[in-house]
Each structure stands twice: as structure tokens, then as C-alpha cells.
Amino acid sequence: MTPAAVPPDRWLELAPLQLRDWVTGFLPASLQWLATGLITIVAILAVFGLLFAYLTLAERKILGRIQNRPGPNRTGWFGLLQPFADGVKALTKEDVVPRQADPVLHYLAPVVLVALSLLGFAVIPFGRHLVAVELDAAVLYFFAAGAATELAIFMAGWASRNKYALLAAMRALAQLISYELPLLLAFVPVVMLAGTLSTTAIVAAQGGWTLGVLPHWFVLTPWGFAGFVIFMIAALAESNRSPFDLPEAESELIAGHLTEYSGFKYALFFMAEYFGMCALCGMAVTLFLGGWQAPCAALECIPSYAWFGAKLLTLLLGFIWIRATLPRLRMDQLTRLAWKFLVPLALINLGTAAFWSLTAGWTGGLQLVRWAVALALVAGPFVLLGRRLSRGVAPRVYRYASS
């Protein structure tokens, strides 16, 4: 996080760092590293805490609009104070713990979940100079931190001593194990092409533009697009969002692992869900959408963190949109989708990426061949596997009684 070798940067780009350095400047030199770290943590908490608050509002508003109703609009101007009202409500509600529950685990689950879901933010580069921790194996760290969240969900489900919660815990385990694999496999091509596990280096590898307008984001290559889609589907599942919200399927399991939670613990679960969602979307932006890179050279004057934010919000809105539209999968369909569709596709995509990497030197007419082959490698398996997956499921033609 050192602005050592700064390219001709504009003032806005460096503003957050200068602010931080100005604040830490008041402290003795020996404490500065600590203060810097703390400020980074507080900044991330504040930004994503607010994002969480307003994301819940945005979700309710957008869901409302999609469902032809205005959404919350009573608390504050256009309902802008709604998240705070919700927070106060959650804090003042009675915290009910079932007598049969395992009190320690019941208490620990939301805390652990929130703590773990925050870990991922450490390695996401929010801007050109804004990354909390530079790690050599940053991507691996990110997924290691994410892998632990499922344990917290299991703890919540099991400790509640509720049959619905227990079923939800089983579902959560199966779902998260199944989708870990496509999630990991989807980003392997990126690591392969960028040649690094460091998030900053991956973003740097996507810099530059063709003719000043076409960014070199990975999503704009055939394998990158396929990887992005697989990653986003797996991310939906990992963050327990509709259509993969089986652990908390309200029409089947009441609230799944959250059934026996109330008050602020319940709010913590929601916070963790949104943090996890933000972290995964942030990682998707970093891996596939060029991180903080501007879409074209002319727009570089806008600070990099604004671009990152815009891309992140777009993905989050996509999550909300999908939630408003799609029905939920069943457990066996969920696992089948992961193991029989996403994992093979991700593996084939690995091959596509290898091909892409090997043919990097092709020019002219060969460039077209390269694109055609790569596209075929992406589309062909998708169509074939998709047909296999949806076999026996098709719209039907109906007959009418003869009389």
C-alpha cells in the first residue's frame, strides 16, 4: 500500500491515501504502522457496513419495483433511513435462545460468520493503490477465508436444535462443498493466464486497451466469459442467494438455519450474507472485469476506486435482479448442476484457456481461427452439457377434451 512508484496520478486517485497519511502523521513513527492498519480496517468496515445497509434498502426497493410496489418509503426521505430503523429494531428485539439449543455454538455462529466474511476484503484491490494486504497467494487466501464460512452456517443450524435448522445445516454443507469446486476451477484459468495468484498483479495484467476503447479484461475473451459466468453462478450458490437459497428456503424450511435466531444475531447473519456477497462480487470484478481499470482510455480520469465501485454495484444489482426472478432449485438439482454441469464446463474451460495461452502469438487470419476455436470450445460443451442436464424437461403441448 505504498504510493512509491506513482505514475502521473491525479489528486483524487491518491486522496484516500493522503488522508490516511495525514492522520497517521500526528502519531509517533513507531505507532504509525499500527494506526495505518487500524485505519484501513475501519475504512473497510465503514464503507462496506454502509454498503450493506444501503444494499438491503436497494434490494427491498428494487424487489418492490419489480413486483410493482414502491418498497420501503416511510422512514426518511424515500426510505433512506430504513436501514438504520431496521438496525435499531434488530438491536432492541428480544434475543430468544431455545432452551434445547447449544448455547455456545448458537452464540458463536453469527459472530464467526461475520468475522470470516470480512476476511476476504483484505486482499481485494479496491483501487490503484487501495489494497489492504498485498499477498503473494492472495486469491488462495480469499478462498481459504471463504471456505470457513460454511462451518459457521453449520454451527447455526446444528446448535439451534431445530429440525428445520438441522435440515438447513445439511443442505448448507452439501451446497457449499459442491460449489466450492466450480468456484475454484473457474478462476484457475485467470491464474494461469495472468501467471500469478496476487490480486494486484491480476488486475495489472488486465490493463491497457486496444485502440483505446476495448479493455483487455478477461471477461472479454471466450474463456474469460465462460469462467465469469461459472464463477458468478457458483458465487450465487456460495453466498446462499436465490435461486440457490436452499439453506434458508423460506417456503420449505421456514428460515432454515436462521429459524431459531432473532434480534441482532439475525441481523448479523444478514450482514454476513451481504458481506460475503460483496466480497465474492469484488473478487469477480478483480478476476474478470479488470478490477479498478477504466473501460476505456478516455475515462481514466475518473478515480480507479469509482470504477471498482461501479462494477461491484452492477454485479450486486444483477444478484438482486436474479433473486426477483428465479425460482429455487431442489437439493438434488443443485448438486447435479454443480457436479454434472459447472465442474465439467470449468474443466473444459481450463483447456480453452490453455489453448488461448498457447496461441497468444497468432496474428492476422490466425487470430480469427483462434477466436473461432475458443468460442467453439466454450459454446459446444455448454450446448451439449446443457442438453444433457435439461433432458426430460421441456415445455409441453396440451390437448383438449374432444367433446
Partner: protein, 204 residues
């Protein structure tokens, strides 16, 4: 191909999202306390008793305590006690009147059968729906005094129906008067029997 159905669905929701901002048909919400609903004329809530005059509601009740509504009321939420004495009604005729007329609105199911069976057009359906109370018993048990509302109010909430009822009542009264005159002409001295409607039809 896999996914086309999903994309189609997403297109529909996107259309609704955008539509909710410019198409009133896609945002039909009524923001209630600020925007009051437009009640249709036929809307019914709980019954009230029609009195002829606003100044003296108890003296001009149309109800003659015949107790038909009490008998027909499906949940039996009406309780009537007949008066021991008679009192002149709005037309000046001597009538029995309800000494006690109580409707338990916590039981009433707004079916308006009392309105249909009433031969005297004296009980009608009200339209006031914001009737929440802080207490379950006394304030939901409406007495004669609370139930009585003038005919002008009836005209205000059900104009067409009320006009028709007035016409019919006038016709009945006319017929009764004619009959009385004819009877008076035939037999020189006889007390007027209480008016009975010719049709007996419900308030339509």
C-alpha cells in the same frame, strides 16, 4: 437451449422494473393514509340505523323493532328490545320503537342480510372502515345512539340506492294514504293500521 427461459424471465422482470417508473398500471399501490381509497357506492361495512332527521335521531328512527333482522342475522349479532309504549315516528304515526338496539361489530360479518330483510328500509350498510379501537368489548358494541345516522348521510354514501329507497317509501306512503283515504271513505272512522310495504322487496 438451456438458459433461454431464464433470460426470458429476467426480461419480464426488467420490463416491470422500468415500467414501475413510468406506467401507473405497473405501480398500482395506493399510499393509504395520504391517499384515501375511492370506495364504490356498493361498498358495505357495518350496519347503521336510518333516522329521518339529523336533529332528533332517536325520535325519528325508521326502525319499528320488528326483530326480523335479529332473527335473520347469520352470526346473531343484533339484539333488540321492543319499547313498551308507542311513540310518534317521523310521519307522526304511533309506532313501537326499539328501546334497545345493539349490534356487536366484533361478531358482525358485514353480510347485509339485515338490510335485505328489513321491510322498513331502516337498517343500511355504513362505509366507515377506519374503526379500530383500543379495547375489545365496549367500543365494539354499538348502541342505538351510535348506530343512528340521518337519511341525508345515507344519501351521501349510497346516492343511487338511497334515492330509490326514498322513491319506494314515498310510493308506499302514498299507497297507504290512498288506501287509508279509501278506507276512511268506506268506513268513516277507523284507526290507520301501520304502514306495510306493498312489494316487500329488498333494498336493491
Amino acid at each position: 437451449m438451456l438458459g433461454t427461459g431464464l433470460l426470458q424471465g429476467l426480461a419480464v422482470t426488467a420490463k416491470n422494473l422500468v415500467g414501475s417508473f413510468h406506467d401507473p398500471a405497473r405501480l398500482p399501490t395506493l399510499e393509504y393514509p395520504e391517499v384515501q381509497p375511492q370506495l364504490p357506492e356498493a361498498y358495505r361495512n357495518f350496519p347503521f340505523l336510518v333516522s329521518e332527521s339529523a336533529e332528533d335521531p332517536m325520535g325519528t328512527l325508521r326502525c319499528v323493532a320488528c326483530q326480523i333482522c335479529e332473527k335473520e342475522c347469520p352470526p346473531q349479532c343484533i339484539y333488540i328490545e321492543k319499547s313498551k309504549d308507542k311513540k310518534p315516528d317521523a310521519a307522526g304515526k304511533q309506532q313501537i320503537f326499539p328501546a334497545v338496539f345493539v349490534i356487536d361489530t366484533s361478531v358482525c360479518m358485514s353480510c347485509q342480510i339485515c338490510v335485505e330483510v328489513c321491510p322498513f328500509e331502516s337498517i343500511k350498510m355504513d362505509q366507515v372502515f377506519a374503526i379500530a379501537t383500543t379495547e375489545r368489548f365496549g367500543s365494539l358494541l354499538l348502541t342505538r345512539e351510535q348506530l343512528a345516522k340521518p337519511n341525508s348521510y345515507y344519501h351521501q354514501i349510497h346516492p343511487t340506492e338511497a334515492a330509490e329507497v326514498d322513491r319506494r317509501l314515498a310510493a308506499d306512503r302514498q299507497a297507504a294514504e290512498d288506501k287509508a283515504k279509501a278506507a276512511a271513505a268506506a268506513k268513516s272512522a277507523a284507526p290507520t293500521p301501520p304502514a306495510k310495504p306493498a312489494t316487500g322487496g329488498p333494498a336493491a
